[in-house]
């Protein structure tokens, strides 16, 4: 099976977020970037496992500029066979999906995996858009996947539970916790990643449908009100009378 894993670059989870140019742009200064955890821990690792046991190859794809090569090399170090970078600005979800779809139309993979969301823009939009552009099924928030007799059984998270479904033919899935266990790249993987093919292709031209006009940080809390551990009646009173949440 040939699996395409779409990966993105996100600020490290410990990052303090700030903005520039009158709060219209993310301030990347001093930020360490990582491979988006959902793409890395779950989508990529499950794709690698499937190829390790059933044959085929894992291609990772990212849209962005050359500064993204470092996260692409990380995916290669984890075991992906080859990489593609679409050289352009991932301006909004549609731009990204449109570019990936154009690439897929030249070489259609058997399945496309991506993380359930990126931890920066939390969109969950690229997967369903890509599936629609390719006119194939999309299964969201998959936390378990098995294959047998040419069909794939997937379990997806739904509100308050899970749903198990079956799909035949190419599909797009978004990966959630549980689908696989995080791997750590080893020295051999890191060395091999340097020589694995990374193809850079030009982006389509297009304009973003959605633009960010202003970012804001949440208002700082006015300070904690301490309640004595011996007086939980007082806490209940505060939650009821002042905070009005119970």
């Amino acid at each position: 099976m040939n699996i395409l894993v779409c990966i993105s670059k996100t600020p490290d989870t410990t990052s303090k977020i700030s903005f520039k140019n009158n709060d219209t742009e993310f301030n990347a200064e001093g930020i360490t970037f990582i491979l988006n955890p959902y793409d890395e821990w779950y989508a990529l690792v499950r794709a690698l496992e499937l190829v390790e046991s059933g044959g085929g190859k894992v291609t990772v794809l990212n849209m962005g500029d050359a500064t993204n090569d470092m996260i692409i090399r990380k995916a290669l170090a984890l075991g992906a066979h080859e990489a593609v970078r679409i050289d352009g600005d991932p301006a909004d979800a549609f731009t990204v999906a449109d570019n990936i779809a154009a690439y897929c139309k030249t070489q259609m993979p058997d399945a496309i995996f991506l993380g359930k969301e990126t931890i920066d823009f939390n969109g969950s939009e690229v997967g369903p858009m890509l599936a629609e552009l390719l006119d194939i099924p999309f299964i969201s928030y998959v936390n378990h996947l098995e294959q047998s007799n040419g069909s794939t059984q997937l379990t997806r998270e739904i509100e308050g539970g899970t749903e198990t479904c079956e799909v035949a033919g190419p599909f797009v899935l978004s990966a959630a916790k549980g689908l696989a266990e995080q791997r750590i790249p080893n020295m051999k993987g890191i060395m091999m990643a340097k020589t694995k093919p990374l193809q850079v292709i030009p982006a389509l031209s297009g304009t973003a449908r959605v633009t960010a006009s202003r970012f804001t940080l949440p208002p700082a809390k006015s300070g904690v009100r301490l309640v004595s551990p011996d007086n939980m009646d007082e806490l209940v009173r505060l939650l009821h009378e002042e905070a009005k949440v119970i």
């Binding site: 939390n122 939009e125 299964i139 599909f171 960010a212 006009s213 301490l226 119970i246």
Partner: protein, 319 residues
């Protein structure tokens, strides 16, 4: 022009999140000076009551069946209705199914899409909607540049509001295509409000020392009618199920009340919970970073404080 809102009816029932999107659609329609139309797919008890939330018309397809979900065929059907109703805005719930369809519908309608919106649109210069980004560390105002817009609404963004009497339900003679995905089984726990929709959440971390100690957390949750959650290492160690993991790499929540016991308040944890309206932190370490993000704090041993709080709540509820 119209605003079309798809209202979920899992197992034939419309939930509070359904009334939230109906209210949101009615208000959006009011802002745009147009009509809000509700769409149901499958059975839905009390469908006509949706009119009370301000929907001018309620359309229903497959009114006596419970068809299984499939993003591809459902998104196609909703898009077709949107086109037929000349909808300039399509609204969905930001749920597992809603998220699976928003992007697909946007592609079909050549629309810009905002998933997880947390404000009503500001019609000003260009349709602007805000949403939480960086897993709750910040907010952004997005502008949609296309004439048609697709929005999925984050739970608990607004309260359902009744503004009128019941509506009438028109059954549409349309059908879902053959599904592209076959649903084999569904496992849902009944009675518990799922975390993304929960108004009250009780959460615990590694300070609870082991899974055998979760009884006091469940008791507290039960006394409030709250949903339980946990920190990442707790889920990773298998003390609690993965779906309870909140934070930057877990579920992002925005309840009215979040009570955290034995959780240090690491930046990744805060990211997923700091949109909670009120945060109560119980921790024995006065230096725990979580106190900086809390509204109310109790410095003490969770094993003593939590049962006391449960007792106080029970007393309050009886009183």
């Amino acid at each position: 022009m119209s605003v079309l809102v798809y209202i979920e009816s899992p197992e034939g029932k419309i939930k509070k999140s359904g009334h939230e999107v109906a209210t949101y659609a009615a208000k959006t329609a009011q802002i745009l000076g147009t009509e809000a139309i509700g769409l149901l797919i499958g059975q839905a008890e009390n469908a006509a009551q949706l009119g009370e939330y301000g929907l001018g018309r309620i359309l229903q397809i497959h009114p006596s069946e419970n068809p299984d979900f499939d993003a591809k065929s459902w998104a196609k059907l909703i898009s077709e209705v949107a086109l037929a109703q000349n909808a300039s805005v399509v609204i969905l719930t930001h749920s597992a199914n809603g998220k699976s369809m928003a992007g697909r519908i946007a592609v079909r309608l050549e629309a810009g899409c905002i998933s997880g919106a947390s404000s009503l649109p500001d019609p000003g210069t260009s349709f602007a909607v805000s949403k939480s980004v960086f897993s709750g560390k910040a907010k952004v105002n997005y502008q949609i540049q296309t004439s048609t817009k697709v929005i999925s609404l984050m739970g608990n963004t607004l309260q359902p509001e009744k503004t009128g009497g019941p509506g009438t339900v028109e059954v549409l003679d349309k059908k879902l295509d053959t599904p592209s995905v076959k649903v084999v089984s569904r496992q849902t726990s009944t009675g518990i409000v799922p975390l993304p929709e929960a108004e009250l959440v009780v959460s615990a971390g590694r300070g609870l020392k082991g899974p055998e100690n979760w009884g006091i957390i469940e008791d507290l949750a039960q006394s409030l009618g709250a949903t339980t959650a946990c920190s990442r290492p707790v889920a990773d160690s298998g003390w609690r199920p993965h779906h309870e993991h909140v934070g930057q790499t877990g579920v992002a929540i925005r309840p009215n009340l979040y009570i955290a016991a034995g959780i240090s308040g690491a930046i990744q944890h805060l990211a997923g919970v700091n949109n909670s309206k009120v945060i109560v932190v119980i921790n024995k370490d006065p230096e725990a970073p979580f106190f900086k993000a809390a509204d109310f704090g109790v410095i003490g041993d969770a094993f003593e404080v939590v049962p006391r709080l449960t007792a106080a709540i029970r007393k309050f509820k009886q009183g």
